[in-house]
Symmetry: C2
Subunit: 216 residues, 2 copies
Protein backbone atom coordinates (compact mmCIF):
# COMPACT_ATOMS: atom_id res chain seq x y z
CA UNK A 1 0.00 0.00 0.00
CA UNK A 2 0.96 3.61 -0.51
CA UNK A 3 -0.33 6.44 1.67
CA UNK A 4 -0.12 9.90 0.20
CA UNK A 5 -0.22 12.29 3.13
CA UNK A 6 1.33 15.23 4.88
CA UNK A 7 2.79 15.31 8.36
CA UNK A 8 0.48 18.04 9.67
CA UNK A 9 -2.72 16.83 7.99
CA UNK A 10 -5.18 15.67 10.66
CA UNK A 11 -6.89 13.39 8.16
CA UNK A 12 -3.64 11.68 7.16
CA UNK A 13 -2.74 11.40 10.86
CA UNK A 14 -5.95 9.42 11.47
CA UNK A 15 -5.03 6.90 8.79
CA UNK A 16 -1.46 6.58 10.07
CA UNK A 17 -2.80 5.61 13.50
CA UNK A 18 -5.13 3.03 11.91
CA UNK A 19 -2.27 1.45 9.96
CA UNK A 20 -0.10 1.31 13.08
CA UNK A 21 -2.82 -0.20 15.29
CA UNK A 22 -3.35 -2.94 12.72
CA UNK A 23 0.36 -3.54 12.20
CA UNK A 24 0.11 -2.70 8.50
CA UNK A 25 2.91 -1.10 6.60
CA UNK A 26 2.55 1.35 3.75
CA UNK A 27 4.93 3.47 1.76
CA UNK A 28 4.38 7.03 2.98
CA UNK A 29 4.58 9.59 0.21
CA UNK A 30 4.61 13.22 1.21
CA UNK A 31 2.35 15.71 -0.57
CA UNK A 32 3.48 19.09 0.68
CA UNK A 33 0.33 21.14 1.21
CA UNK A 34 2.09 24.50 1.28
CA UNK A 35 5.24 24.35 -0.86
CA UNK A 36 4.92 25.34 -4.55
CA UNK A 37 1.35 26.54 -4.02
CA UNK A 38 0.42 23.12 -2.70
CA UNK A 39 1.59 19.86 -4.27
CA UNK A 40 -1.96 18.49 -3.85
CA UNK A 41 -2.88 20.65 -6.87
CA UNK A 42 -0.32 19.03 -9.20
CA UNK A 43 -1.87 17.28 -12.22
CA UNK A 44 -0.38 13.94 -11.13
CA UNK A 45 -1.88 14.12 -7.66
CA UNK A 46 -5.22 15.50 -8.88
CA UNK A 47 -5.49 12.47 -11.16
CA UNK A 48 -5.15 10.28 -8.07
CA UNK A 49 -7.43 12.44 -5.93
CA UNK A 50 -9.77 14.82 -7.81
CA UNK A 51 -10.56 16.56 -4.53
CA UNK A 52 -6.94 17.78 -4.23
CA UNK A 53 -6.92 16.63 -0.60
CA UNK A 54 -4.81 14.29 1.47
CA UNK A 55 -4.78 11.47 2.34
CA UNK A 56 -5.07 9.07 -0.58
CA UNK A 57 -4.54 5.37 -0.05
CA UNK A 58 -3.41 3.29 -3.02
CA UNK A 59 -3.99 -0.42 -2.57
CA UNK A 60 -4.16 -3.33 -4.97
CA UNK A 61 -6.33 -6.37 -5.38
CA UNK A 62 -6.79 -8.99 -8.11
CA UNK A 63 -8.15 -6.25 -10.40
CA UNK A 64 -5.04 -4.10 -10.05
CA UNK A 65 -4.31 -0.86 -8.19
CA UNK A 66 -7.03 1.44 -6.97
CA UNK A 67 -6.94 4.73 -5.12
CA UNK A 68 -9.18 5.78 -2.29
CA UNK A 69 -9.75 9.22 -0.82
CA UNK A 70 -11.40 10.42 2.40
CA UNK A 71 -9.85 9.33 5.68
CA UNK A 72 -13.09 8.00 7.18
CA UNK A 73 -13.69 5.76 4.17
CA UNK A 74 -10.05 4.65 4.25
CA UNK A 75 -10.21 3.73 7.95
CA UNK A 76 -13.35 1.65 7.47
CA UNK A 77 -11.85 0.00 4.39
CA UNK A 78 -8.74 -0.97 6.34
CA UNK A 79 -10.92 -2.21 9.19
CA UNK A 80 -12.98 -4.44 6.91
CA UNK A 81 -10.03 -5.78 4.94
CA UNK A 82 -7.81 -6.32 8.00
CA UNK A 83 -10.08 -7.20 10.92
CA UNK A 84 -7.26 -7.56 13.47
CA UNK A 85 -7.36 -4.81 16.12
CA UNK A 86 -10.89 -3.77 15.16
CA UNK A 87 -11.63 -0.05 15.07
CA UNK A 88 -15.40 -0.41 15.51
CA UNK A 89 -17.57 -2.35 17.96
CA UNK A 90 -19.48 -5.29 16.45
CA UNK A 91 -22.84 -4.45 18.04
CA UNK A 92 -25.02 -2.46 15.65
CA UNK A 93 -25.99 0.35 18.03
CA UNK A 94 -22.50 0.72 19.49
CA UNK A 95 -20.97 0.86 16.04
CA UNK A 96 -23.40 3.60 15.04
CA UNK A 97 -22.59 5.64 18.13
CA UNK A 98 -18.85 5.35 17.52
CA UNK A 99 -19.31 6.47 13.92
CA UNK A 100 -21.40 9.41 15.12
CA UNK A 101 -18.72 10.41 17.63
CA UNK A 102 -16.05 10.21 14.94
CA UNK A 103 -18.22 12.26 12.59
CA UNK A 104 -18.85 14.87 15.26
CA UNK A 105 -15.18 15.71 14.71
CA UNK A 106 -14.71 14.72 11.07
CA UNK A 107 -17.90 16.34 9.74
CA UNK A 108 -18.37 19.25 12.15
CA UNK A 109 -14.98 20.47 13.38
CA UNK A 110 -12.19 19.50 11.04
CA UNK A 111 -13.85 20.63 7.76
CA UNK A 112 -14.16 24.16 9.13
CA UNK A 113 -10.60 24.41 10.36
CA UNK A 114 -8.42 22.67 7.83
CA UNK A 115 -5.71 24.38 5.84
CA UNK A 116 -7.69 25.22 2.70
CA UNK A 117 -10.44 26.91 4.74
CA UNK A 118 -8.01 28.93 6.84
CA UNK A 119 -6.20 29.94 3.65
CA UNK A 120 -9.50 31.06 2.08
CA UNK A 121 -10.41 33.13 5.15
CA UNK A 122 -7.08 34.97 4.98
CA UNK A 123 -6.38 35.13 1.25
CA UNK A 124 -9.89 35.64 -0.14
CA UNK A 125 -11.77 37.20 2.74
CA UNK A 126 -8.94 39.28 4.13
CA UNK A 127 -9.21 38.09 7.74
CA UNK A 128 -6.36 39.06 10.02
CA UNK A 129 -4.64 36.58 12.32
CA UNK A 130 -6.87 37.41 15.31
CA UNK A 131 -10.09 36.93 13.34
CA UNK A 132 -8.78 33.68 11.87
CA UNK A 133 -7.99 32.38 15.34
CA UNK A 134 -11.39 33.44 16.62
CA UNK A 135 -13.01 31.39 13.85
CA UNK A 136 -10.73 28.42 14.56
CA UNK A 137 -11.36 28.49 18.30
CA UNK A 138 -15.13 28.86 17.86
CA UNK A 139 -15.57 25.58 15.99
CA UNK A 140 -13.21 23.68 18.27
CA UNK A 141 -15.13 24.88 21.33
CA UNK A 142 -18.49 23.92 19.77
CA UNK A 143 -17.25 20.49 18.80
CA UNK A 144 -15.27 19.67 21.94
CA UNK A 145 -18.07 20.77 24.28
CA UNK A 146 -20.39 18.29 22.53
CA UNK A 147 -17.74 15.58 22.52
CA UNK A 148 -17.14 16.05 26.25
CA UNK A 149 -20.86 15.39 26.84
CA UNK A 150 -20.77 12.31 24.63
CA UNK A 151 -17.83 11.02 26.65
CA UNK A 152 -19.78 11.28 29.91
CA UNK A 153 -22.20 8.79 28.34
CA UNK A 154 -19.91 6.46 26.46
CA UNK A 155 -16.28 6.67 27.52
CA UNK A 156 -14.32 3.98 29.29
CA UNK A 157 -10.60 3.97 28.99
CA UNK A 158 -11.06 5.46 25.51
CA UNK A 159 -13.82 7.47 23.79
CA UNK A 160 -16.20 4.54 23.61
CA UNK A 161 -15.60 1.86 26.22
CA UNK A 162 -12.22 0.29 26.76
CA UNK A 163 -11.09 -0.28 23.17
CA UNK A 164 -9.61 2.21 20.76
CA UNK A 165 -12.09 3.09 17.97
CA UNK A 166 -12.23 5.44 15.00
CA UNK A 167 -13.63 8.04 17.40
CA UNK A 168 -10.23 8.18 19.12
CA UNK A 169 -8.51 8.26 15.74
CA UNK A 170 -10.45 11.42 14.92
CA UNK A 171 -10.14 12.97 18.36
CA UNK A 172 -6.38 12.79 18.83
CA UNK A 173 -5.34 14.63 15.64
CA UNK A 174 -7.97 17.29 16.33
CA UNK A 175 -6.63 17.87 19.85
CA UNK A 176 -3.11 17.97 18.48
CA UNK A 177 -4.26 20.62 16.03
CA UNK A 178 -6.16 22.60 18.66
CA UNK A 179 -3.04 22.75 20.83
CA UNK A 180 -1.10 24.10 17.89
CA UNK A 181 -3.61 26.95 17.66
CA UNK A 182 -3.49 27.53 21.44
CA UNK A 183 -7.12 26.64 22.17
CA UNK A 184 -7.59 26.44 25.97
CA UNK A 185 -8.61 22.86 26.71
CA UNK A 186 -9.19 22.89 30.48
CA UNK A 187 -12.96 22.86 29.98
CA UNK A 188 -12.79 19.33 28.55
CA UNK A 189 -11.23 17.17 31.26
CA UNK A 190 -12.61 13.83 30.07
CA UNK A 191 -11.65 14.56 26.47
CA UNK A 192 -8.11 15.41 27.57
CA UNK A 193 -7.94 12.28 29.73
CA UNK A 194 -8.85 10.16 26.69
CA UNK A 195 -6.34 12.08 24.58
CA UNK A 196 -3.58 11.41 27.12
CA UNK A 197 -4.59 7.76 27.36
CA UNK A 198 -4.30 7.33 23.59
CA UNK A 199 -0.96 9.11 23.53
CA UNK A 200 0.47 6.33 25.71
CA UNK A 201 0.12 3.88 22.82
CA UNK A 202 2.96 3.35 20.37
CA UNK A 203 0.54 3.35 17.44
CA UNK A 204 -0.37 6.94 18.27
CA UNK A 205 3.16 8.04 19.14
CA UNK A 206 4.56 6.76 15.86
CA UNK A 207 1.77 8.44 13.88
CA UNK A 208 2.42 11.87 15.40
CA UNK A 209 3.24 14.65 12.95
CA UNK A 210 6.71 15.25 14.40
CA UNK A 211 7.58 11.57 13.94
CA UNK A 212 7.04 11.74 10.17
CA UNK A 213 9.92 11.97 7.75
CA UNK A 214 8.45 15.06 6.03
CA UNK A 215 8.12 17.01 9.30
CA UNK A 216 9.92 20.32 9.19
Amino acid sequence: MKLFGYWRSSAAYRVRIALNLKGLSAEHISVHLVKNGGEQHSPEYAELNPQHLVPTLVDSNEMGEFSLSQSMAIMEYLDEKHPQAPLLPTNLEDKAIVRAMAQSIACEVHPLNNLRVLQYLVDEMGLDEAAKLKWYHHWIIQGFAAYELLLTRYSGRYSFGDSVTIADLCLVPQVYNAKRFNVPLEAYPELMRVFDECQQLDAFKQAAPEAQSDAS
Copy 2:
Protein backbone atom coordinates in the same frame (compact mmCIF):
# COMPACT_ATOMS: atom_id res chain seq x y z
CA MET B 1 -38.62 5.16 15.27
CA LYS B 2 -38.65 8.92 15.64
CA LEU B 3 -36.71 11.23 13.36
CA PHE B 4 -36.05 14.71 14.69
CA GLY B 5 -35.39 16.86 11.65
CA TYR B 6 -36.16 20.05 9.80
CA TRP B 7 -37.57 20.35 6.30
CA ARG B 8 -34.65 22.36 4.91
CA SER B 9 -31.84 20.47 6.64
CA SER B 10 -29.77 18.63 4.03
CA ALA B 11 -28.67 16.11 6.62
CA ALA B 12 -32.24 15.29 7.68
CA TYR B 13 -33.20 15.10 3.98
CA ARG B 14 -30.57 12.36 3.46
CA VAL B 15 -32.08 10.25 6.24
CA ARG B 16 -35.63 10.78 4.96
CA ILE B 17 -34.58 9.37 1.57
CA ALA B 18 -32.96 6.36 3.28
CA LEU B 19 -36.10 5.62 5.28
CA ASN B 20 -38.26 5.90 2.15
CA LEU B 21 -36.01 3.67 0.02
CA LYS B 22 -36.16 1.00 2.71
CA GLY B 23 -39.88 1.35 3.23
CA LEU B 24 -39.42 2.24 6.88
CA SER B 25 -41.74 4.57 8.70
CA ALA B 26 -40.77 6.95 11.46
CA GLU B 27 -42.53 9.67 13.35
CA HIS B 28 -41.14 12.93 12.00
CA ILE B 29 -40.66 15.57 14.67
CA SER B 30 -39.80 19.06 13.52
CA VAL B 31 -36.99 20.96 15.21
CA HIS B 32 -37.26 24.47 13.84
CA LEU B 33 -33.71 25.65 13.24
CA VAL B 34 -34.56 29.33 13.04
CA LYS B 35 -37.63 30.06 15.17
CA ASN B 36 -37.07 31.08 18.82
CA GLY B 37 -33.31 31.33 18.27
CA GLY B 38 -33.29 27.73 17.06
CA GLU B 39 -35.22 24.94 18.76
CA GLN B 40 -32.12 22.71 18.41
CA HIS B 41 -30.67 24.69 21.34
CA SER B 42 -33.54 23.86 23.72
CA PRO B 43 -32.45 21.90 26.82
CA GLU B 44 -34.74 18.99 25.85
CA TYR B 45 -33.25 18.66 22.38
CA ALA B 46 -29.67 19.23 23.56
CA GLU B 47 -30.14 16.31 25.94
CA LEU B 48 -31.04 14.15 22.94
CA ASN B 49 -28.30 15.59 20.74
CA PRO B 50 -25.44 17.39 22.54
CA GLN B 51 -24.26 18.74 19.20
CA HIS B 52 -27.45 20.81 18.83
CA LEU B 53 -27.79 19.57 15.26
CA VAL B 54 -30.43 17.74 13.28
CA PRO B 55 -31.16 14.98 12.52
CA THR B 56 -31.45 12.71 15.51
CA LEU B 57 -32.89 9.23 15.15
CA VAL B 58 -34.48 7.62 18.17
CA ASP B 59 -34.84 3.87 17.88
CA SER B 60 -35.37 1.12 20.40
CA ASN B 61 -34.01 -2.35 20.94
CA GLU B 62 -34.21 -4.90 23.77
CA MET B 63 -32.18 -2.49 25.94
CA GLY B 64 -34.65 0.36 25.51
CA GLU B 65 -34.60 3.59 23.52
CA PHE B 66 -31.41 5.08 22.21
CA SER B 67 -30.68 8.23 20.24
CA LEU B 68 -28.28 8.57 17.38
CA SER B 69 -26.87 11.71 15.77
CA GLN B 70 -25.00 12.34 12.52
CA SER B 71 -26.80 11.54 9.28
CA MET B 72 -24.00 9.39 7.85
CA ALA B 73 -23.95 7.18 10.95
CA ILE B 74 -27.74 7.02 10.89
CA MET B 75 -27.85 5.93 7.23
CA GLU B 76 -25.31 3.15 7.80
CA TYR B 77 -27.16 2.06 10.95
CA LEU B 78 -30.43 1.81 9.02
CA ASP B 79 -28.63 -0.04 6.23
CA GLU B 80 -27.17 -2.61 8.61
CA LYS B 81 -30.36 -3.11 10.61
CA HIS B 82 -32.66 -3.21 7.57
CA PRO B 83 -30.69 -4.73 4.70
CA GLN B 84 -33.51 -4.47 2.14
CA ALA B 85 -32.77 -1.94 -0.62
CA PRO B 86 -29.06 -1.78 0.32
CA LEU B 87 -27.43 1.65 0.28
CA LEU B 88 -23.88 0.35 -0.13
CA PRO B 89 -22.26 -2.18 -2.49
CA THR B 90 -21.13 -5.42 -0.85
CA ASN B 91 -17.69 -5.51 -2.47
CA LEU B 92 -15.07 -4.02 -0.16
CA GLU B 93 -13.45 -1.64 -2.64
CA ASP B 94 -16.75 -0.47 -4.13
CA LYS B 95 -18.17 0.18 -0.69
CA ALA B 96 -15.13 2.27 0.22
CA ILE B 97 -15.42 4.33 -2.96
CA VAL B 98 -19.11 4.99 -2.36
CA ARG B 99 -18.38 6.10 1.19
CA ALA B 100 -15.63 8.38 -0.10
CA MET B 101 -17.99 9.91 -2.67
CA ALA B 102 -20.62 10.49 0.02
CA GLN B 103 -17.99 12.03 2.30
CA SER B 104 -16.75 14.30 -0.48
CA ILE B 105 -20.09 16.05 0.03
CA ALA B 106 -20.77 15.35 3.70
CA CYS B 107 -17.27 16.18 4.98
CA GLU B 108 -16.10 18.78 2.46
CA VAL B 109 -19.09 20.74 1.16
CA HIS B 110 -22.02 20.59 3.53
CA PRO B 111 -20.12 21.40 6.77
CA LEU B 112 -18.95 24.68 5.27
CA ASN B 113 -22.34 25.75 4.01
CA ASN B 114 -24.87 24.71 6.59
CA LEU B 115 -27.05 27.11 8.51
CA ARG B 116 -24.91 27.55 11.62
CA VAL B 117 -21.86 28.43 9.53
CA LEU B 118 -23.71 30.91 7.34
CA GLN B 119 -25.19 32.46 10.48
CA TYR B 120 -21.73 32.78 12.01
CA LEU B 121 -20.37 34.44 8.87
CA VAL B 122 -23.12 37.05 8.97
CA ASP B 123 -23.75 37.53 12.69
CA GLU B 124 -20.22 37.21 14.07
CA MET B 125 -18.01 38.13 11.14
CA GLY B 126 -20.27 40.78 9.66
CA LEU B 127 -20.31 39.44 6.11
CA ASP B 128 -22.84 41.01 3.77
CA GLU B 129 -25.13 38.94 1.55
CA ALA B 130 -22.78 39.08 -1.46
CA ALA B 131 -19.77 37.90 0.55
CA LYS B 132 -21.83 35.13 2.14
CA LEU B 133 -22.94 33.93 -1.29
CA LYS B 134 -19.37 34.06 -2.60
CA TRP B 135 -18.31 31.79 0.26
CA TYR B 136 -21.26 29.45 -0.34
CA HIS B 137 -20.64 29.21 -4.09
CA HIS B 138 -16.91 28.66 -3.64
CA TRP B 139 -17.28 25.45 -1.64
CA ILE B 140 -20.05 24.10 -3.85
CA ILE B 141 -17.89 24.66 -6.94
CA GLN B 142 -14.87 22.98 -5.34
CA GLY B 143 -16.93 20.01 -4.23
CA PHE B 144 -19.05 19.57 -7.34
CA ALA B 145 -16.08 19.85 -9.71
CA ALA B 146 -14.43 16.96 -7.86
CA TYR B 147 -17.68 14.98 -7.76
CA GLU B 148 -18.15 15.43 -11.51
CA LEU B 149 -14.72 13.86 -12.05
CA LEU B 150 -15.55 10.99 -9.71
CA LEU B 151 -18.74 10.38 -11.71
CA THR B 152 -16.80 10.02 -14.96
CA ARG B 153 -15.07 7.09 -13.29
CA TYR B 154 -17.85 5.47 -11.35
CA SER B 155 -21.33 6.53 -12.41
CA GLY B 156 -23.90 4.34 -14.09
CA ARG B 157 -27.50 5.26 -13.80
CA TYR B 158 -26.66 6.72 -10.39
CA SER B 159 -23.49 8.04 -8.72
CA PHE B 160 -21.92 4.63 -8.42
CA GLY B 161 -23.15 2.08 -10.93
CA ASP B 162 -26.82 1.38 -11.42
CA SER B 163 -28.04 1.24 -7.82
CA VAL B 164 -28.84 4.10 -5.51
CA THR B 165 -26.23 4.46 -2.77
CA ILE B 166 -25.50 6.81 0.13
CA ALA B 167 -23.50 8.88 -2.37
CA ASP B 168 -26.78 9.80 -4.11
CA LEU B 169 -28.40 10.44 -0.74
CA CYS B 170 -25.72 13.05 -0.03
CA LEU B 171 -25.66 14.49 -3.54
CA VAL B 172 -29.35 15.23 -4.02
CA PRO B 173 -29.90 17.38 -0.91
CA GLN B 174 -26.69 19.28 -1.68
CA VAL B 175 -27.85 20.05 -5.23
CA TYR B 176 -31.25 21.07 -3.90
CA ASN B 177 -29.46 23.44 -1.54
CA ALA B 178 -27.14 24.79 -4.23
CA LYS B 179 -30.13 25.63 -6.43
CA ARG B 180 -31.68 27.53 -3.55
CA PHE B 181 -28.53 29.68 -3.42
CA ASN B 182 -28.51 30.11 -7.22
CA VAL B 183 -25.24 28.32 -7.90
CA PRO B 184 -24.83 27.86 -11.68
CA LEU B 185 -24.75 24.12 -12.28
CA GLU B 186 -24.20 23.86 -16.05
CA ALA B 187 -20.55 22.93 -15.52
CA TYR B 188 -21.59 19.60 -13.95
CA PRO B 189 -23.65 17.78 -16.59
CA GLU B 190 -23.12 14.27 -15.26
CA LEU B 191 -23.84 15.36 -11.71
CA MET B 192 -27.07 16.99 -12.85
CA ARG B 193 -28.03 13.93 -14.88
CA VAL B 194 -27.65 11.76 -11.76
CA PHE B 195 -29.61 14.33 -9.73
CA ASP B 196 -32.46 14.25 -12.27
CA GLU B 197 -32.39 10.45 -12.35
CA CYS B 198 -32.75 10.29 -8.57
CA GLN B 199 -35.55 12.82 -8.59
CA GLN B 200 -37.63 10.40 -10.66
CA LEU B 201 -37.88 8.06 -7.69
CA ASP B 202 -40.76 8.33 -5.23
CA ALA B 203 -38.39 7.86 -2.29
CA PHE B 204 -36.62 11.07 -3.26
CA LYS B 205 -39.78 12.98 -4.17
CA GLN B 206 -41.43 12.21 -0.86
CA ALA B 207 -38.31 13.23 1.06
CA ALA B 208 -38.08 16.64 -0.60
CA PRO B 209 -38.18 19.63 1.75
CA GLU B 210 -41.41 21.02 0.26
CA ALA B 211 -43.16 17.70 0.86
CA GLN B 212 -42.58 17.87 4.63
CA SER B 213 -45.30 18.91 7.04
CA ASP B 214 -43.09 21.61 8.63
CA ALA B 215 -42.31 23.28 5.27
CA SER B 216 -43.21 26.94 5.26
